[in-house]
């Protein structure tokens, strides 16, 4: 029941945020140099005055600004993201086609980063001050400092060109396979891009897990657990982990925006067919509806993810919100 109230309380804020983003989208399009109608007309190859006027009417560009804003926002609410100038396909359809690919990539990377990062962080906290701590810390720091695309290129260089272990481009082989073989093929292609994305973000989780578990381990109830005779392993899993995870889950929600940004670069480097790539191609073609559509969808995902993490936190720690 408490979860439900939390959700209800969250809703107006989220809607307001989304509306604000939509508004910003709208403003950005209008700020773009050049008259949108002229751009579209130019692309269509017919640029005489009457055609431009017709386009203007079609897209509703001749109406007063308030009407345009209102109609834009209502269309957003309905999930209508407009039509791509280039391909005349509905933007939402284009995005829906490529969204799974991005989700696979970012989801895998996120899980990997959190899991491995937490493990390293906790290991580092248990070996505090020792060489392992220093090694892990340095490794995290190194990962954090590396540009995303450089890491990707390096990995391709080492693992793909030199060693030939993993494919360098695309999500699946050119000859499509079926069923289970397809799954394995995708996973094979997934390794390098996901690893690149994960390495970068892992550093944050390592540090966070380390300080978080150090903090928890200093608490009294841990001492009680030890005194009760629980082994180190049991203490770790049962108590330390659950409490130390809270800031990590919070951080994961906050990092999502950065994850999406990194995904764009990775998708470009590895030719991964996701929405980041879509946005980039659209950018080169000045196809603003697509870019803004992707932008909006990513923002929605971040907002939703924040909700999920908030609810998850409330589940894990019933003390929140009481």
């Amino acid at each position: 029941m408490r979860l439900f109230t939390a959700f209800v309380a969250w809703l107006p804020r989220a809607l307001l945020t989304l509306a604000a983003i939509g508004l910003m989208n709208f403003t950005l399009v209008r700020l773009a140099p050049g008259d949108p109608a002229a751009v579209i007309a130019g692309e269509s190859g017919a640029a005489d005055g009457a055609f431009i006027e017709k386009i203007r009417a079609d897209y509703g560009l001749d109406q007063p600004i308030q009407v345009q804003v209102a109609s834009y926002l209502t269309r957003l609410a309905r999930g209508d993201l407009g039509v791509s100038y280039r391909s005349n396909l509905p933007v939402s359809q284009m995005i829906a086609q490529r969204l799974p690919a991005t989700l696979i990539l970012t989801g895998t990377a996120l899980i990997f980063a959190i899991v491995v990062g937490t493990m390293l962080g906790i290991a580092s906290s248990r070996a505090r001050g020792g060489w392992l701590d220093l090694a892990i810390g340095s490794f995290a720091m190194l990962c954090y400092a590396m540009p995303v695309f450089w890491v990707g290129l390096l990995l391709v260089l080492v693992f793909s060109v030199a060693l030939g272990w993993f494919p360098a481009f695309g999500m699946a082989s050119l000859v499509p396979k079926q069923g289970l073989a397809y799954l394995v093929d995708v996973m094979h292609h997934l390794v390098l891009p996901a690893l690149t994305l994960a390495l970068l973000h892992m550093a944050v989780y390592v540090r966070l897990a380390r300080s978080s578990s150090l903090e928890v381990m200093g608490k009294d109830f841990i001492r009680t657990a030890h005194a009760k005779g629980l082994t180190d392993g049991q203490v770790l899993r049962g108590h330390v982990l659950r409490n130390a995870m809270l800031p990590i889950v919070t951080m994961a929600g906050l990092q999502l925006g950065h994850l999406m940004g990194g995904a764009i670069v990775i998708e470009t480097v590895f030719a991964w067919p996701g929405i980041g790539r879509l946005a980039f191609d659209a950018l080169l073609q000045r196809d603003y509806s697509v870019i803004l559509g992707v932008f909006f969808v990513s923002s929605v995902m971040v907002v939703l993810a924040n909700l999920v993490t908030d609810l998850a936190l409330r589940i894990v720690d019933p003390r929140i919100g009481r």
Binding site: I21, M146, P147, F149, G218, L256, M260, V265, F295
Partner: protein
Amino acid sequence: MLSLIALVALLAPWIAPHDPWALLGQPLAPPGGDFALGTDMLGRDLLSGLIHGARVSLLIGLASSTCALLIGVGVGALAGYFGGIVDRVLMRFTEFFQVIPAFLFAILLVAIMRPGLKSVIIAVALVTWPPVARLVRSEFLVLRSREFVEAARSLGLGHWQIMVREILPNALPPVIAVGSLMVATAILTESSLSFLGLADPNLISWGYIIGSSRSVFRDAWWLSVLPGLCLFITVLSINLLADGLGDAGNPLLRSGRDTAA
């Protein structure tokens, strides 16, 4: 933990001379000069490209961080000092910018404005300011209830004077640490933008070199690896410096020690 702090503080000045700052003193090598590091696909000298790129990357990093700092400190100070409705509105505003996927937003901004030095700086600044605002706000919140603020107010100092002359100097140490980290982030963001070809095409930057070398990647791998190495070392040394600064300026912060029984 103290030994770790000392180690980091020691490492920072040692790493710093490796920072490409040293390269700024040399006279600009004309493209096509010495071929110490090889040439790119158009015959341009890589070494000069790296040196010029150093100037660009650092320039953009510093410029955009300064802008971001100004915005962040401004917003945070106002929010933290005045509290109440000002605080809530400003914090909503900051949250809004934090929800937006940062890099996407930067790309969008650069696309909308004409690609150029200024737009890159503005875009990067607009994307990196929120964390500073939050930090400054919390610092101000803590500091404004201190006695010296009351003393200042009883002396008749106006709001602005109190904020700038009294509270701000005390709020600065963590801001400096975060600020140096922001420079690193700004450099990385700029490099990603130029890698994608979205930055000023008249300026050579490391990201641009890497991006434009992608087509000859398999044969001329050094064109991609070396500029990235430069980026990496730069960012790493800034991070170490920031760590050293942060720890030195605030020895009580993040001690990580167990609370003594």
